[in-house]
Symmetry: C2
Subunit: 278 residues, 2 copies
């Protein structure tokens, strides 16, 4: 099985390295950065690399697009004439409904696109973050469409398992986007909002403890990527922010009325839910 | 120097253990829980313990009240007739303006109250969290009042240094409360609001990654304590929530108008500020 990986950053590079470590020999890598391609070849995480996908595409059985959301459909549109019949394509993007709609417009019948979301990011950008152990113990979400063949979904799931993913869950694209807006995008929105508050100052760290450091960690954000993730999921994220604001309103109301019992009720509810989860 | 510690929970107990470890022999401890007093005595963190402060008070040179905010002024009111002339009193509460006002009503002239905020909490409640190393490397805030004698402020600062605090900063009670509302109380409000959102479900953890786990950690909250902290600082906390909402509104606006450039600007601003801090 010949596998092509388009984009050899921390995620794509970790897929390449993981698949090689799992025994796959024929891994081909493409990146727009020449140094990255050289590094990938030297390290052995790919059999061969290139600055362009064209030469590899006619032979590839599996095509993993480790690209930004905005690059997925354009890639298909540009290269679909070169796809091998029966190619299984997959992505790694953190939004699904919008991407699935965009891809549906341009995907040829000879290709099957299994949309996936490996749930382990990287603090390191670029191939320096490539690590064959990155996905060990990680979770992944697969969002099947009505066009997917079962065997192709299983092929992707098996590749994920072989490089260390432990929990791989199939969900609808709509549920994926709704829940990711809540558990991931909202966290980033809150962290950014906290750091951008006009209360931030030179003196802030004199007062800050662990919780501030933790909560603001993800405000150091890859703006190119996250602006795409936010905008491709904006209705779901708007809903998550509004639900959060509803809860903040409840807290504000208890403060305005000095309602200690109601405030304790809100704390008790949160404590019970958090303990139920973790 | 005879030091009395009222309340032998994780914080009071850690002060007792830390002071003993620093070589102070005459540490006296009071707690309403008999088992706690016995444990404190057995462990050697106090010289002698009691269920009541009365017997110790006439001899104490320093009195550390490791009590909830609502208990501070009532303690002074109840026991002030027993205070030794010149006693230096200090607290450990995370709000200051309201407590200072309450204490001013009842504090006798023979006592000097140096208000302090040791900034290291405990995941463990009760004396089981007492640890003589707890405060090593921790920060503390002192909020002097116009009535404090400089030598008494220094006495408390020195005790803090001797048990491991490294950065001890004097700030006004107003600045303390404003910044604590922002860096600490707002974090707890957001965490509680996230967990209480109606988007929380049985499936949430299928989608959640590190950021969700981190941000919701402090939603497992001591409601008795934090309701007092919130309510004793409610105007400052309301302001912090409103400033946060102003930033959320900016994010929402970029989503509603699909304004990628403005969204990237907000991310860039947050990234620069976060990197400046940490």
């Amino acid at each position: 099985m010949k596998i092509g990986i388009i984009g050899l950053g921390a995620i794509g590079g970790s897929f390449a390295a993981g698949l090689r470590a799992a025994g796959y020999e024929e891994i081909y890598g493409v990146d727009i950065d020449e140094e990255t391609v050289k590094t990938a070849e030297k390290s052995g995480m790919i059999k061969e690399g290139s600055l362009s996908a064209e030469g590899f595409l006619p032979d590839l059985d599996v095509l993993l697009l480790s690209l930004y959301p905005s690059q997925i459909a354009p890639f298909i549109e540009k290269y679909h004439a070169l796809f091998k019949a029966g190619v299984v394509i997959t992505d790694v993007t953190g939004v699904k409904t919008a991407i699935i709609e965009q891809v549906a417009e341009v995907l040829p019948d000879i290709a099957d696109f299994v949309f996936a979301h490996p749930m382990r990011g990287s603090e390191k950008k670029g191939i320096i973050g490539a690590d064959h152990t990155r996905f060990i113990g990680a979770n992944a979400l697969i969002t099947p469409t009505s066009k997917n063949k079962e065997k192709n979904i299983q092929l992707i799931e098996n590749l994920y398992r072989e490089i260390g993913f432990t929990k791989i869950t199939r969900v609808s694209p709509e549920l994926h986007d709704e829940q990711i807006a809540y558990v991931s995008q909202l966290m980033h929105a809150l962290s950014v909002a906290v750091v951008n508050s006009n209360q931030a100052s030179e003196d802030t760290l004199t007062f800050a403890g662990n919780s501030f450091q933790e909560l603001t960690r993800i405000a150091d954000i890859n703006g190119e990527l996250w602006s795409e993730l936010f905008l491709n999921n904006r209705s779901a994220l708007l809903k998550s922010i509004e639900q959060l604001e509803t809860e903040l309103d409840k807290l504000k109301q208890t403060l305005k009325t000095a309602d200690e019992e109601k405030l304790k009720d809100l704390f008790s509810k949160a404590t019970a839910q958090r303990r139920h989860w973790y």
